[in-house]
């Protein structure tokens, strides 16, 4: 009992101390002092790191020493932002993240109208709207019952597909594949050459791919581009309307594998034939290993290629303990399955910047976001994130700044994809898509089949079954989803 009493005493003292500390902490955690002139920005704490945000805020402060701008990284931004937006005295004024269901927030009246921002002139005389591509502008407008207005700004433009170990390709004389058949042959060649892994333990040879169960969706970036090559973007954007004209009644027809989804199914078939049916083309544990394991295999040269996206370089460096990764990595232009037209799937097209309706200083918020579109901010964003491009027009950059960006070969390869290919996205602006908690997506409920198909070594999850099942699921549940979305 005595020991217990003394522990209680210690606890009591600790409480007294910590409750004082906690009170101090409250002020730090919430809105910083500085009255109404300040704005606080919360941004997603992920693949692009924090350096770009710190740099952005500090450069803004150099120009506007009086402005009180704070940027806070938050991994759980999506979980906390709904309640933050509901507050009339919000802790945060601007939110920057992927997957923000901004249309829903606009409908609920949580978001500030950003028309003034789009009309604002940048330092070089262009309007903010001019600095965005037409697609980026178009998808930021929304009618929330008060006519069409801008409610968000697209944050990034991205690219994905296969990354490859350039040094290894050069050393062994492997050609970067132009077409799907080239890719197929290359994989066969890599396997048959059986190059030993450098520094690897006895008998281990280089395989074409490594990937991870944790991020199987990365294969989408290849498959979606094949889909676009096969179907063209017109057909895709049509089916993403989910029978809008008819009040979404027969929206499930978008998933019909014989009509609307025919080319998607075929694109998956290409993947299936290459990866699922050739288990020896990937590191054998790909279907069941962590991201770190796959990164490690790529870094150690155990695999030549890896499905990834524009944050690959940043993450690989992190996985390597922050050290340089020791060889050149490029993002591959996705090999063609048809024709010569290349398409770039805009990874992260739904990434958004939104402003709370109860923003404490709207002028400052608008000025700050427009600052993000200024040329020096573009350069800094891409440099600090080592591969991500913000959604604004990079062609206005002076040649030497572009050259500076492209001096990182990985950034250059992303840039090439973004600027020379036809950009498209799979983003639906229909309520059935954004009000059903990510159920109505290209893959229903974001249920992927790459892992099970690979695990089954090409005997399960074949394209016919997968797409037939998706169609029948959509058909059976469509009314429930309309109900969940509040449309019936």
């Amino acid at each position: 009992m005595k020991a217990f009493k003394s522990i209680l005493l210690v606890l009591a003292a600790a409480i007294a101390a910590t409750s004082l500390a906690a009170c101090g902490g409250d002020n730090e955690g919430g809105r910083p002092t500085g009255g109404n002139g300040s704005i606080v920005i919360k941004y997603y704490d992920g693949g692009y790191g924090r350096e770009w945000a710190d740099d952005l805020a500090s450069r803004y402060k150099t120009i506007h020493p009086d402005a009180d701008v704070t940027m806070e990284a938050d991994l759980e931004i999506l979980g906390t932002m709904t309640s933050a937006l509901q507050s009339e005295d919000p802790d945060y004024d601007i939110f920057i993240s992927h997957d923000i269901t901004w249309q829903y927030y606009a409908l609920e009246g949580y978001l500030a109208n950003l028309d003034a921002l789009y009309a604002k002139k940048l330092s070089d005389g262009r309007t903010f709207a001019d600095a965005l591509s037409p697609a980026n502008r178009e998808y930021s407008k929304f009618d929330a019952g008060e006519g069409e207005h801008y409610y968000k700004v697209n944050w990034t433009q991205g690219a994905g597909g296969l990354i490859y170990n350039v040094d290894m390709f050069e050393e062994y004389g492997w050609e970067v594949p132009e077409t799907y058949d080239d890719l197929k042959n290359l994989c066969a060649q890599i396997v048959s050459e059986a190059r030993p892994v450098k520094g690897g333990m006895g008998g281990q040879t280089v395989v074409p791919f490594t990937w991870t169960n944790e991020n199987e969706y990365l294969w989408d970036y290849v498959v979606f581009e094949w889909w676009a090559q096969l179907a063209g973007t017109e057909k895709i954007s049509q089916l993403l309307q989910y029978d809008k004209a008819n009040n979404y009644t027969n929206g499930f027809e978008s998933f019909n594998p014989d009509t609307n989804y025919k080319e998607f199914k075929q694109a998956y078939q290409y993947w299936y034939d290459l990866v699922a049916k050739n288990p020896n083309y990937s590191v054998s544990a790909s279907n069941a290993q962590t991201k770190l394991a796959a990164q490690g295999q790529f870094l150690r040269g155990e695999a030549a290629m890896m499905p990834y996206s524009h944050w690959a370089y940043y993450e690989l460096k992190k996985a390597n303990g922050g050290d340089d990764i020791g060889f050149e990595v490029n993002l591959m232009e996705t090999p063609l399955v048809k024709g010569t037209q290349r398409y770039n799937y805009l990874v992260g097209f739904g990434d958004s910047i939104v402003v709370s309706k109860y923003c404490h200083n709207m002028d400052l918020a608008i000025d700050f976001i427009s600052f993000m579109a200024e040329p020096e901010s573009l350069v800094s964003f891409t440099e600090k994130s080592q591969g991500a491009f913000s959604a604004f027009d990079y062609s206005v950059l002076p040649a030497e700044q572009l050259a500076r960006l492209n001096s990182n070969p990985f950034v250059a390869s992303v840039n090439k994809k973004l600027t020379t290919e036809t950009n498209f996205n799979l983003y639906s602006n229909e309520p059935i898509a954004y009000l059903t908690s990510a159920t109505v997506q290209p893959w229903l409920a974001n249920k992927y089949h790459y892992v099970p198909a690979f695990a089954g070594k090409g005997t399960t999850d074949n394209p016919d079954d997968v797409f037939a099942e998706m169609y029948s699921t959509a058909k059976a549940n469509w009314r429930s989803w309309l109900y969940n979305a509040g449309l019936v």
Partner: protein, 294 residues
């Protein structure tokens, strides 16, 4: 332990006990070896873990610990491990004291006073315990929001304590059983000496039941220390350890900083191991459930 309680183990009975011992020993290894492994990895360099997962650290150092102590939870400025320890102590201690007190009040009254409705109340409590209504979390959240318990971190703290402060949970059932079996002779003697019910409760019953209260306190304290759901939803602005560490884990995994993650685990586990090694006897002896006769 008295000798005669133990079997004279012969033949296959003896073999059975040996087999069970081996199974227990293997299970023990599965509990303890990962802890040693975690400790070992916390001394590695960040770039080492990916290539040396099971081995000893090549250049052992405390960098991971320095980083772990400095690490702030993503989205929560100032929320370091130390401040989260403080928050967790503040939540668990105050919450436990209040709920043990209210449970003891309710249990004492329902066990020892035969007023009209006492039996009904007990039946309702057992029913509520055995058959929880599912899915009330959203309603609870709306309710707490309406009451203003989700405005800032202080209001949230008060709200969480309020949520914890109920007197009719599992503590009630344990203490009710205890009071039920408590002899009434002490209280009767006090009545004769002219003490009133309040005095009897505070001066006789509470000290008498100190052992049980301490036991309930410890069990409840561990429960609140480790609770995740309530603080995750109702204490969003000031993370406790359980919530904060799960957020930190995501950040550190994103950054592939595993040694630091292991250091975080060690730091969180250390006080638990220390306290447990002091109180393990009390804790284990008082971990008990009785029947739930309503």
């Amino acid at each position: 332990m008295k000798k005669e309680m133990i079997y004279r183990r012969t033949g296959w009975t003896k073999a059975l006990f040996v087999i069970v011992f081996i199974i227990f020993a293997v299970l023990t290894v599965t509990y303890l070896y990962p802890l040693i492994w975690v400790l070992m990895n916390s001394f590695k360099q960040q770039s080492e873990y990916i290539n040396n997962i099971t081995g000893f650290p090549k250049n052992p150092g405390f960098t991971a610990y320095a980083e772990a102590f400095a690490e702030e939870v993503s989205g929560h400025k100032g929320a370091t491990l130390m401040s989260m320890f403080g928050m967790t102590i503040a939540v668990a201690t105050v919450g436990t004291i209040i709920t043990v007190l209210t449970s003891s009040q309710a249990a004492y009254i329902l066990a020892k006073f035969n007023f009209r409705g006492a039996k009904f109340m007990y039946a309702v409590v057992i029913f509520a315990y055995v058959c929880p209504i599912v899915g009330t979390l959203p309603a609870q959240m709306q309710f707490m929001k309406t009451l203003g318990f989700m405005k800032n971190s202080f209001a949230e703290y008060v709200g969480v304590i309020f949520l914890y402060s109920g007197g009719f949970g599992f503590n009630f059932i344990l203490l009710h059983a205890y009071y039920k079996n408590l002899s009434k002779s002490y209280a009767e003697a006090a009545y004769i000496d002219g003490a009133n019910d309040f005095q009897i409760y505070t001066h006789i019953i509470l000290p008498l039941s100190k052992g049980s209260l301490v036991a309930v306190f410890i069990i409840q304290f561990i429960g609140l220390w480790n609770d995740y759901t309530t603080p995750a939803i109702f204490l969003k602005d000031a993370p406790t350890l359980a919530v904060g560490v799960s957020l930190m884990t995501k950040t550190l995994e994103n950054n592939s900083n595993f040694p630091e993650l292991f250091a975080v685990m060690v730091i969180v586990l250390l006080p638990i191991i220390l306290i447990f090694s002091v109180f393990s006897k009390t804790i284990i002896e008082n971990t008990t459930v009785g029947g739930l006769k309503g």
